[in-house]
Amino acid sequence: MGAGRKEGTVTDRKAILVQSLTAVAAGDRASLQTVYDMTSAKVFGTIIRIVRRREVAEDLVQEVYVTVWRRAGRFDPAKGSPITWLCTIARNLALNSLRNRGRDDEFGDDEFPDLADTSIVPADDWLCTQEDSVALADCLETLREDHRRSIKLAFFEGLSHSELAEKVDVPLGTLKSWIRRGLAGLRGCLGG
């Protein structure tokens, strides 16, 4: 677990990714491999947690980087970090796959770190730390545990209200309230 280059500072890694995506947009295949080497473990982590089947997830990882090859020119560093952009593409592809194929559950929950532990990611695993990422992480920590966990489950596992309610075994109305109050807390925190 945890492939990808980790040398240099987080700032260095972000700069390398931004430069590499610029080069990919110009058709540089070597730069695509640099992006892949640095990010594929996180991209795969994003996808496998949602679709839960390795074969499907690896096909989707291919789709992500083929998309990057075609669309790197669309990446705008002013709008977000490279890893946010890549993982947004990955999450969307995974959620679409989930809708079309359903969840296979080759991997169970115990295959993944508990979401409560992912609030603090080792610095070596950060690719593009930036103000907004840190701000959101800090704001999540200000939420009640059940609110924070519900939002994280929705994000990382692609669960709907009713799926979340079933997973955490609370009434649907309670779960909805947790999500809404959690989002309200995030809005207040992020909006300063």
Partner: protein, 248 residues
């Protein structure tokens, strides 16, 4: 990007967050989709949340991927480049026959359909109410966007009132070019619906001929064309957006 001084009320802003998070289903999802079509402020709020929540990606636990994946990516890019070279060799001026373009649009529509953001499509099995308003009468809708949602088009065709309404973003063209809307009937050739704005809302009446072409199952698509005030005979590649019209 919107900020938290969004003009929409607090309840709607939080609902936008739920939509961005992907938890809505059933009628709540349908209502959010209607708001995405009809309310630019709501769409901005969804974008704000999508970006903010997306920064959680840094907290994703890495997971080892097999070596075969990179080889697969290289093979697919090799195939893309070979296809591009072949297409370039066969296209003297980047314009194609109407039948070739129709086939390409069909392929693009299928590809886009598989990539439409989770924001735009429901995960619930029941058929949602996608009508963009509570008014009676049949309507067609299309929600098109590319992989990273930098280009979006939400279209509503009021079949009773014979009107076309669009919300567009990210389709600003370079000088001398304009985005042009196309309809491709199933099995037919593309027909231009004329130039559209690169961003913002757009509403106009439809001609009887256009109404005849705009049916459920037809493909709606956008390309950049010369901004010469004309409706063009054939579209120019690349296809920026493509997707099917659905009746609601």
């Amino acid at each position: 990007m919107a900020d938290t001084t969004s003009p929409i009320d607090d309840d709607a802003f939080i609902r936008a967050g739920e939509h961005a998070l992907g938890v809505l289903e059933g009628e709540e999802l349908s209502a959010a989709r209607r708001a995405m079509l009809a309310d630019g402020d709501f769409a901005d709020a969804v974008e704000w949340w999508t970006y903010r929540l997306g920064t959680m990606a840094e907290a994703t636990s890495p997971f080892a991927v097999s070596a075969a994946v990179w080889r697969g990516i290289e093979a697919r890019i090799d195939a893309i480049e070979a296809s591009d070279r072949s297409a370039a060799a066969s296209l003297a001026d980047r314009r194609m026959s109407r039948s070739s373009v129709a086939a390409l649009f069909a392929g693009a529509a299928m590809a886009v359909a598989s990539l439409v953001l989770f924001l735009a499509t429901p995960r619930v099995s029941e058929a949602p109410d996608q009508s963009p308003s509570s008014q009676a009468g049949p309507q067609l809708i299309a929600q098109l966007q590319d992989e990273d949602a930098s280009r979006k088009l939400a279209g509503v065709i009021d079949m009773a009132g014979n009107r076309l309404a669009l919300n567009v973003s990210g389709l600003e063209a370079e000088s001398g070019k304009t985005p042009e809307l196309w309809v491709i009937p199933a099995g037919g050739a593309p027909v231009s619906l004329g130039a559209i704005p690169g961003s913002g809302a757009f509403d106009r009446a439809l001609t009887p001929e256009e109404v005849r072409l705009l049916v459920a199952g037809s493909t709606l698509a956008v390309t950049f064309e010369d901004d010469d005030g004309q409706r063009h005979e054939t579209p120019t590649l690349p296809i920026l957006l493509a997707g099917t019209l659905d009746q609601v």
